[in-house]
Symmetry: C2
Subunit: 461 residues, 2 copies
């Protein structure tokens, strides 16, 4: 039976077991984050040693709360967790998140097995232990015990991120917050005593808010079931995966880290490929791919038009595209070439890459983009906009955003530079136009985009 994770991610009522007034305690940070996040459901506090915490009534036990509880967050020392979980079950709590550590990851397998048994007995979806828990910017649920000043929280978006590792999870979440694309769900599931990858995938497959999934994984427990759901999910939405423990040395490190067997790397890679997953080789690639796939632009083919205001950057991007086996530069149609020749200054060489010259402004970009938008030989538009040049400013950034909304072809941007460039990058990314800071990052991402939709075309249900 599939576990229902909805009450965990969209809870109407939350109880924090182990909420604390001591700022150094995890239970305090979690409570504080709830208040900061603006969670608008009912919030209850359980701490048997307090009557009141931060102005809120504290209950001695979860059973004392008369209300129905959708989610109990458990942040108390490991030895006390089984009893608290049992009380949650008796009180008909719908789901729980156990953030506490001190279970299988340090050899306390039996203690963890108790959690599994209790969760199963009450059929109460239980996440963790030893995890960061969940975050959903729409429901404003946030069980992370890391303060917001250290770990920025992403805005609302379509990317769901599932992480076995808390550290990788928190850094990537922080990076997502720094990028323009937002988050649908973050699920850090730690030791997976009850809820595991299969349950999470089943839930996110059906979740309409989730457009793209990214996954950091060291190993899966239910291999067969996992790859069954994986194959189904890839036909509906893209999954980008980063696997820890790809080498024997890395595998040994992973084993010491999560006590999970990282498994045969080649077997995983083959299975991921068969499932249609997009494989990232590094944290940075995970972010690059998520960005372009979150923009929900579907290419009809692999022919790329490059429009640039920097000749050298156009050359480098051309090289990078040519070095892939799957992408290629478009041959502009005769109509495009003739019309461009009339519209462009004489210095502009009418070819692909189209170098608009260093003085190109939003007007010149606009003329080129209008033509490429309707050129049947062009599938994807790659714009290089270098904001160091005299003609490029916020008017250009806004114009590119407008074209992205108007054009029925995938469009991405390369903008490279420091502060002034970053300012313009934010304008574009917050409007859903993916921006990359190097030719390699941009071209890799287009390759992932192209390959994913090619997989979809050849694996229709």
């Amino acid at each position: 039976v599939a576990l229902d994770l909805k009450p965990m991610l969209k809870p109407r009522s939350v109880a924090i077991i182990g909420a604390s007034r001591d700022p150094d305690k995890v239970g305090h940070v979690i409570l504080q984050n709830y208040i900061n996040a603006g969670y608008s459901g009912k919030l209850y506090i359980v701490n048997k040693n307090a009557d009141e915490i931060m102005g809120m009534k504290s209950y001695k036990s979860i059973g004392d709360i008369k209300d129905s509880i959708d989610l109990a967050v458990i942040a108390i020392p490991a030895p006390f967790v089984p009893q608290a979980l049992e009380e949650c079950g008796k009180a008909k709590v719908k789901t729980t998140v156990v953030v506490s550590g001190g279970f299988a990851e340090i050899g306390n397998v039996e203690l963890q097995d108790q959690l599994t048994l209790i969760a199963k007995k009450y059929n109460m979806p239980t996440l963790g232990p030893n995890c960061l828990g969940v975050m959903d910017p729409r429901s404003r649920i946030d069980t992370l015990f890391l303060p917001t000043y250290k770990l920025s929280r992403p805005s609302i978006g379509g990317v769901s991120f599932v992480s076995q590792s808390g550290a990788v999870g928190s850094t990537i979440l922080d990076l997502i917050a720094g990028e323009g694309f937002g988050l649908s769900k973050f699920i850090s599931y730690g030791n997976a005593a009850h809820v595991d990858e299969v349950d999470i995938f089943n839930y996110l497959m059906e979740d309409e808010e989730t457009k793209v999934m990214i996954l950091y994984i060291e190993g899966v427990k239910r291999g067969k079931e996992f790859f069954e759901v994986a194959k189904k999910i890839s036909k509906i939405k893209p999954v980008i995966v980063l696997k820890g423990g790809k080498t024997s040395v890395g595998m040994a490190a992973a084993h010491s880290h999560t006590a999970a067997l990282a498994g045969d790397a080649a077997a995983y890679e083959a299975a991921f490929k068969q499932a249609g997953f997009i494989i990232a080789e590094d944290i940075s690639e995970l972010l690059y791919y998520a960005k372009v796939l979150a923009s929900e632009q579907r290419p009809k083919g692999n022919r790329i038009a490059i429009v640039t205001n920097g000749g050298g950057t156009g050359v480098l991007t051309t090289d990078t595209i040519s070095l892939t086996q799957d992408l290629r530069l478009a041959d502009f149609s005769e109509k495009t070439k003739t019309t461009l020749r009339k519209a462009m200054p004489i210095l502009v060489n009418i070819r692909n890459p189209l170098d608009l010259a260093g003085d190109a402004d939003e007007q010149r970009y606009g003329e080129a983009l209008s033509l490429l938008a309707v050129d049947p030989n062009v599938d994807i538009i790659l714009v290089i906009a270098l904001f160091q040049t005299p003609g490029a400013d916020s008017k250009l950034a806004v114009r590119l955003v407008n074209y992205k909304e108007k054009i029925d072809k995938p469009m991405i941007v390369i903008s490279i530079g420091a502060e002034y460039t970053k300012m313009h990058r934010i304008i574009m990314e917050s409007a859903g136009l993916p921006v990359y800071d190097s030719p390699a990052a941009a071209v890799k991402s287009l390759l992932a985009l192209y390959k994913y939709y090619k997989f979809r075309d050849t694996h229709k249900n």
Copy 2:
């Protein structure tokens, strides 16, 4: 005869020919940038249509200035450049930079040939035309016509950057400004009518302020001479090269861009390798490699110790190291292991990667680093410091900087995240400790470092 570029980069007196009061003119931006940069030598203005510009006396001709001129910056329309250059020669100007475009790059080969003849006649090193010119933060020379609000200027440092392309040049310069390592010289040489790669390399080889060279190049004119100086220079200081036009399609784009023949890509690559150049495949790699080489840390071997406060990030970094052929994880000495076991909390598994756990603070890092610093089995220390975790704050950043200064082994840091992380990254980088934002970037950079010094060891003079 080697051309002397010193008066161009360390001028005691500068004349700007074509300085303008019109803010839209290149000659205005250049003048404004000189004033902003705080150039302290003598500054003269030449504009035959003005008596005074921005409060400064304007000369009708360079010949009217009684002073000896080290550098004349020429920013007037192309047809008038030969006459201005001739006047510079007659006035015994030592060097010139022609920023004006409109020469060979648009087919005006004859006009450009005139510049070459005049420069040779007066043996007057002339940079350009069609270039951004030079920048040296020590002498505060800055001929770039791009305003500082668009293109940040780097601080003083050891990296010299030579670029054939203005666009690639300006974006990389902007990125260098955004990074912690500073600039020695920036030389954008454009069409190379007179001063070319060989002259620049000869000058920078002897320049003690230049510790590392980075190069963007699409093709060289004097191949034989270039590779002769290249071989010599690599034995003295590292050269990182990014080549535009590596593929036939990219080559065609490069030809249209700089009118230079990009040449046979395989031949270039072989020659670069033979010369001991470090080959970057992308703009991002150019920056990564420059950063670690600018820190002037020489490894004794290839055995890396990883110290981390995030298990998963340690696993990913281990994988990345194992996938290289040349780097490997160190086996800690027995003494290190025994002492670590006593010093570390019981939860810390004593192995490489050394996972100090999520609550590690500067104290725990310090204990580990003191031991690895003296472990004869460790050549390089790779620190992963994730600032999202409870124990990591500015005290950790400062501690790492202190250790970098104390330890006689290369040390680099991986810190991944948004604002809070970036703040700490600046603390570390401005103190000369290289920080990377992904395992792939860090490991690639260590590989470049290791390979370069291995080349030096096997190619002693």
